[in-house]
Symmetry: C2
Subunit: 300 residues, 2 copies
């Protein structure tokens, strides 16, 4: 394997830099604050958080590269004997202040173990407070284009994977309009490690321009108190997903990661209202009706 873990980690660091620069230029007001941290059992990271910007109310763009003995929970799940692990990646969640601008998440990561096992994983998904069809179409078409460039099977596989992954079973709703999700992409007859890596790199580079395009369409729109209230409710679903289901959050907390970096994904403010139901024929009801699996946004 020519491609080694340090090379991957270094590239991720560069990606973090590039994304932060693009987001700062776009926001036009706030800048990222960095906290470098180390992990007792090995490795560390650079957390970058932006708050109270023109567009971004709270956002995190995190890089980490952690290593050490693989935690028991993970070994048991994989049914493997003790081995060291190395995990590196970039993880992003952006909470804009306006309900007209969607929440977005991206993660690109690499994992390897001292027994030779390795894989890539990641995904991008969009959580609009109000689903706008033409944005949803653009978002999915861009993801599809990056997937198609690398393999015709990718988008048809990774889009439904995102539908299944970013799903709240207790709400019977998806987190947003999905996107792509993939995990344990390792080498086989069809893909070399380098090919997997190139795909991951393209996903990583797509993130900032794609979000900036969509957020830019709506950042200057006005909004009402009711629309802000609906945003706070949708954010509470985001909290539920991340704390109940998100595997990255679980992995981070299980491996004794840095809590404030892991939970930078939490919204600045969220609201829970007992049995809230959108009014019939309202924009909120329309959005709710689109929070389901299997919608072909790219082909809309």
């Amino acid at each position: 394997m020519a491609l080694d873990k340090q090379e991957i980690a270094l590239w991720f660091q560069g990606l973090q830099d590039r994304i932060c620069q693009q987001l700062e230029a776009f926001d036009g007001k706030a800048t990222f604050q960095e906290d470098a941290w180390t992990r007792e059992a090995g490795g560390g990271g650079r957390s970058r958080v932006i708050t109270e910007g023109n567009v971004l109310e709270k956002g995190g763009v995190n890089f980490s590269a952690v290593e050490g003995p693989t935690p028991e929970k993970i070994l048991n799940a994989l049914k493997l004997d003790q081995a060291d692990f190395f995990a590196t990646g970039v993880s992003i969640v952006l909470h804009p202040s306006s309900p007209k601008v969607p929440i977005i998440h991206m993660n690109v990561r690499y994992f390897e173990m001292s027994n030779g096992i390795w894989w890539f994983g990641g995904g991008i998904d969009l959580t609009p407070i109000y689903v706008i069809e033409e944005d949803a179409k653009h978002f999915h078409q861009q993801l599809k284009a990056v997937c198609d460039k690398h393999h015709a099977d990718y988008y048809p596989k990774f889009k439904p994977w995102a539908d299944d992954y970013f799903y709240l079973p207790h709400r019977k709703e998806t987190r947003g309009i999905g996107g792509i999700f993939f995990d344990r992409l390792s080498g086989n007859d069809d893909f070399t490690k380098e090919e997997r890596w190139k795909f991951l790199q393209d996903v990583g580079e797509l993130f900032a321009p794609l979000y900036i395009e969509i957020a830019g369409r709506h950042k200057d729109e006005t909004f009402t108190e009711e629309e802000k209230g609906w945003q706070l409710l949708r954010r509470s679903r985001y909290v539920e997903f991340n704390l109940l289901h998100d595997k990255g959050t679980k992995f981070g907390l299980d491996t004794d990661g840095r809590t404030e970096s892991i939970l930078m994904s939490m919204p600045p403010l969220a609201k829970w209202e007992y049995c809230h139901t959108p009014a019939p024929n309202s924009p909120e009801e329309k959005t709710q009706s689109l929070l389901k699996k299997g919608i072909d946004f790219a082909g809309m």
Copy 2:
């Protein structure tokens, strides 16, 4: 066993009524709204929610009695063959609007299976936004008195159990000042089922007068924007505990319970702030310093 599940469930229903009456009288403005619900696989419940009261911003007092085939997850955890289960109890979380009034939680429950296994479980714990020593002392002394009435070992066992249970490992802090927690109290040489049940009943009846006493001490105090902000931050820790760790929430969601009833424990509004640290020597820092295990509040 003279004491059967229907008798227990009926008593819990009555407890729910009594607690709601006392809380309504105390609040003086809002009243509980009831939703009766049934569960597809068997049983149902009565959710009662109070909102926008003088004291209570959002609170739930839920009764449920559910039954049916025991979910796989639970059977696997208990290493048991298929059997039916029956679970009934009252579950309460109250979120007051004022940061001077603590959040409180109580749960009392009974669980049995068709293979003859049964147990009681439950607990009460208090989450002050600002810890006041004399309230903490009173709260723990009252819990201790109810425990001591039934067995000298109860409080010394159930108080540390609450410390361990209501704990956020990723924050290295307790949820609040704890209280008592107990689970799987079944019959043995020392305790009959009736004795366990009488203890549980006393815990249930203690709840309303105990909370009303402590909340009543502070409900009319004024508070600042900063104090409200600290409350929203503390509430976010409450969310984290309930979604990451609370076994009742997990059990409810795993057994396909009614989501809105289970998540009535969520606060009306919560805030996450990256790396928030209380100012040195502030009341917030003092509270933070008391969010740890092993403090003998009753003996303060």
